[in-house]
Symmetry: C2
Subunit: 426 residues, 2 copies
């Protein structure tokens, strides 16, 4: 039977879940996977936490050096997060020839090529299934389930916190602030929610997933990012009436014009399978040139779902001697030859507050037409104090044209303001 | 760069798609996967078909012996189907030490352990991603994406033909016969549709998937099977009104009482992600003890989706020297120690045609109560000529109790007949 000794760096939520799965299921893995996995040591500042989890005293390491010099440790699990000590520790582990399994999306999005170069040099494995979409095996699918395809697009709900907030706003008519507060109360959102609600977390994940999907390093600097803090519950409600659901999507497309990567609130049609992915669930929708549409759905976070991805990586590493390397020819700055699309082509939902008098709609429509933005649908939704709200849904058009149109509209006396602008995907 | 020579046995729809992907994308795979895959030969009775696909004359083999003795062939793709020559050919390929990639669910469901034993003996790979759910990487997910989990249940829409028919019946109110005819016209159903509509195809796939999920060989004889030929469009319509969608599900559960495997028409609640899987799409919903719910969705059939799964297996085989073996300790007849549940516990939808007079409902309810079948919902749906239709939805209960209840009901003068009995899943 194959054996592997595991070290866990960090015993937070995910580290605790990983420790639990590895220790409680040792016999199960021997029987079903033919591998004997033992936790050889843990490294955790908060020694009390280690004791609470039941880690034996002699398995609590004092330093990363103690961990990487331990000959019984084959696989190092890093679940500290961030790019500080986590980067130092992962680097030391790889340089000692240990295989690394990590859930650290920020580290991977920012330093993948250099970590991979170290791993390759030492013939060590480098696994990161847990970095994206928790327990859903999206990384393995991209690496070893869809290789026959050129992947044309990837669209994902890849942040559970924002999906929980947007679901709550849609179902209960809550404001962003109310929904955020509830998410924090339930532990779905951090006390400082910036990484989630401003789309940084999704940006890291999209950078990793689109790099694998398109076979080129997509840096986080290449990803357009817009969070959900500006989302108005009125727009969610109007979209709902018109058959659309608002989601924070990570979108990657590989087209003849170049690669397009962006994270922003997006209206999706209700019959799109992503529209019914609710609460803290995640999903990734892929289109491959051979396989067509595929979607994977599941829990994107949590102790056991993320622990499931980590332990699946540990088992894979313990069973195989050959590892996946992305082999990016380009460095951390990406490949200069990769062209990126900046002027996104999309449909738009636009909500305007306008003067409620004859001729206004015609004047507004004229501005759209003059700027070559073609209108697909118009709806006048409310009247009050001589003001009307108009919702316009455009056909697909370039972002720069929409921007010019909105600038012009805002300069009209008849337009009190542009209240909402949201991109749409079918 | 790693190289692998491929032979394709059978150039039907899937064989043609596989040939197309391998030849058109040779350069793409060299660049993105670091493997050079060449089609070294094909074996196809209909030589004209091979020529139409552009296979060079000297690559059209005359016999399986010619294929397996060809030193340039490393990987043999079998896409003939059935258990006749396909079994002979696969066996010869494995005995010659060639790795086999197959889409043949019937062969695998019926002869997996003996084929695996041959493969292991010769250190050859045996890959079958394409045997279940076409291009959706469900096999790889079970083998290498969810190993950390004890899988508690698997529920899948794993036959595209029947899903197309049921979707059409639901959306257009067609009868089974009308929907089947349309499916045949579009090429979704065969001229002889038995394998699909009677649930044999789904049974093969459920046998394979549940074996992997539960780590024990589940034979097709263990799978309860019921097709869709008896489905009445009235039940679909009544279910719809009550918030349910009818699907042919493959269901596997691994419970303390034993393993439960069954294929039958099933009402699922509209908020179940499986309910919105329409037309010829497939989906598999899994529950793992660590990861919770996961669902994979995509095309279950077709030249390129199935070709995508085959070529992904070919690439995996070309890149790795270590293969997955299920290592069933049991033989083809399964493991005698595996306990199977026969008396399924389920909710039931029951439609009765009854006499339209006072006291009937009370009498019927009495029969349910006497047989310990608890009722959750009752709806009286139509009245005509002194007849009423009653729909009863039960709480969870054992199948044998329901059967006793129905037998008793049918003996009542007030009951003209049991018009529909359909199991339900939340």
């Amino acid at each position: 039977m194959k054996r592997a000794g595991v070290a866990i760096l960090g015993l937070g939520v995910v580290g605790g879940g990983t420790y639990q799965i590895l220790t409680e299921k040792r016999e199960y893995f021997k029987k079903t996977q033919g591998v004997d996995l033992t936790v050889e040591c843990v490294l955790e500042k908060n020694v009390e936490r280690a004791r609470e989890l039941g880690v034996e005293e002699d398995k609590i390491a004092n330093s990363i050096e103690e961990v990487v010099s331990n000959p019984n440790v084959d696989i190092v699990v890093e679940v500290i997060g961030g790019t500080g000590v986590a980067k130092t520790f992962v680097t030391k582990a790889l340089m000692s020839g240990k295989t690394v399994v990590t859930s650290n999306k920020e580290l991977f999005a920012k330093h993948w090529p250099e970590l991979e170069a170290q791993a390759k040099k030492m013939h060590a494995g480098l696994f990161f299934e847990a970095s994206c979409v928790g327990g859903v095996p999206i990384i393995r699918t991209l690496q070893e389930g869809m290789q026959a395809n050129k992947i044309l697009s990837i669209k994902g709900i890849i942040n559970g916190t924002t999906n929980y907030i947007l679901t709550k706003m849609a179902n209960e008519g809550s404001s962003y602030e109310e929904a955020l507060k509830e998410a924090q109360r339930l532990g779905y959102a951090e006390f400082n929610p910036t990484a989630d609600v401003e789309g940084f977390d999704a940006t890291y994940k999209l950078s990793i997933l689109s790099s694998l999907a398109f076979n080129k390093k997509i840096c986080i600097e290449n990803v357009y990012r817009e969070g959900i803090t500006g989302v108005d519950k009125e727009d969610i409600a109007y979209g709902k009436e018109m058959g659309y659901t608002l989601k924070l999507l990570g979108i990657g497309k590989d087209t003849e014009k170049g690669v397009e990567v962006r994270v922003h609130p997006t209206f999706v049609k209700n019959d799109n399978p992503l529209a019914s992915v609710n609460d803290s669930f995640n999903a990734v929708h892929l289109v491959g040139d051979a396989v067509g549409e595929i979607m994977l759905y599941g829990r994107g976070a949590g102790a056991l779902p993320t622990g499931s991805a980590i332990v699946s990586d540990v088992i894979f590493a313990a069973k195989h001697d050959q590892y996946f390397y992305a082999n990016f020819k380009n460095n951390q700055q990406g490949n200069k030859e990769t062209k990126f699309v900046k002027d996104f082509v999309s449909k738009y939902y636009i909500r305007l507050s306008v003067m409620d008098k004859a001729g206004v709609l015609s004047k507004i429509a004229g501005v759209f037409s003059k700027n070559n933005v073609s209108i697909s649908e118009v709806k006048q939704v409310s009247y009050e104090d001589g003001k009307a709200q108009i919702i316009i849904i455009t056909h697909e058009c370039g972002e720069s044209l929409v921007k010019k149109t909105l600038d012009k509209l805002q300069s009209l006396d008849e337009v009190y303001g542009v209240k909402g602008t949201i991109r749409m995907e079918d």
